[in-house]
Symmetry: C2
Subunit: 165 residues, 2 copies
DNA sequence: GGTAATCCAAGAACGACTCTCATTCTAGGC
DNA sequence: GCCTAGAATGAGAGTCGTTCTTGGATTACC
């Protein structure tokens, strides 16, 4: 399943109330408040069908300054609420962690404009990949592995632009 | 197979003469010289068992200034001689393209220090992944896909550091 | 209501990378 | 071997994404 194909717009719905509750609980443990700014960052990311750059998050909400977005995403990433996605354009993007968004997925990246979309793999293939990743990390002495099956290509918009410049 | 496990040192051997010849031919078509600096960049990358940052390349050869490394790697990446690898630390690393290094591989990344190592997947799994990637990109309207099965974790050195700070 | 902790915005600082420009090198013609 | 045009080089300035700092605003808790 592919989210936000073609156009680069954001979805309309905000984050599930349960998601907010879980994040608030996590923050409480760390003695941090679930502030309006923090909630806004979560809502923007939850309502987008794809990982967003700090700049995109700040643009989506007038009340969010760029430094607030960076600070908040940093804290939330530390807590495991957000995941940082390294794009091919050197700009990092943020998305809700899989534990909160409740669907395991990988990324489809455009090597021209840096767009990042989500997709899901068939369960059988996912299982085989996971087993292979475990074997490989163990052999290399790595710990705490997480695998990513990223696919890089040209998005429809950039493909069109290359064909008809 | 894992290259350069544990210690982060570089291999000793330089690039295969055939590799140099092929790169020189590619550069000639573009009216560019295969200069000593350019050759040094290739040698450093070919003799390393893992992708290197621009800084690491410059450090490996006293005669290479950082701007020369960035300029040269840019040209060589355009030609398809080098591949740029986006690390988890936001620093890009370079390696010989698979066409030249003649082994298809993926990357093992340390989320702490950013180290990138190479590894190879069993052929059967590689084939299944490739087929899945084709299906997914076609459905999303992407073109020219290239898939990457990156595994992220803590390298042995960083695992040790976390255990005994 | 008081106060201590946290949050916030603005802007400075930082670092990776790119660009600029004066100098050096080199291929190819004499 | 010498000349010259054009490519390559290195130092340093500039750009841009990201992080840090600071001083004031807000909030939780008493």
């Amino acid at each position: 399943m592919i989210a936000a194909t073609g156009s680069h717009d954001l979805r309309q719905s905000a984050a599930d109330p349960v998601v907010h509750d879980r994040i608030e609980a996590l923050l409480r443990v760390r003695r941090r408040r679930y502030t309006p700014r923090c909630r806004e960052v979560i809502d923007v990311l939850a309502s987008s069908g794809r990982p967003l750059t700090a700049d995109e998050v700040a643009q989506a909400e007038d009340s969010l300054s760029i430094s607030t977005v960076y600070r908040t995403t940093g804290v939330l990433a530390d807590l495991g609420v957000l995941r940082s996605v390294a794009g091919v354009d050197g700009v990092s993007r943020f998305e809700l962690s899989e534990a909160l968004s409740s669907h395991h997925h990988h990324h489809l990246l455009c090597r021209q404009c840096g767009l990042v979309l989500d997709y899901e793999l068939p369960a059988a293939l996912e299982k085989a990949l996971h087993a292979a990743a475990l074997r490989i990390t163990r052999r290399a002495g790595f710990t705490g592995p997480a695998e990513r099956f990223d696919i890089e290509g040209l998005c429809p918009t950039c493909t069109e632009l290359v064909a008809n410049p």
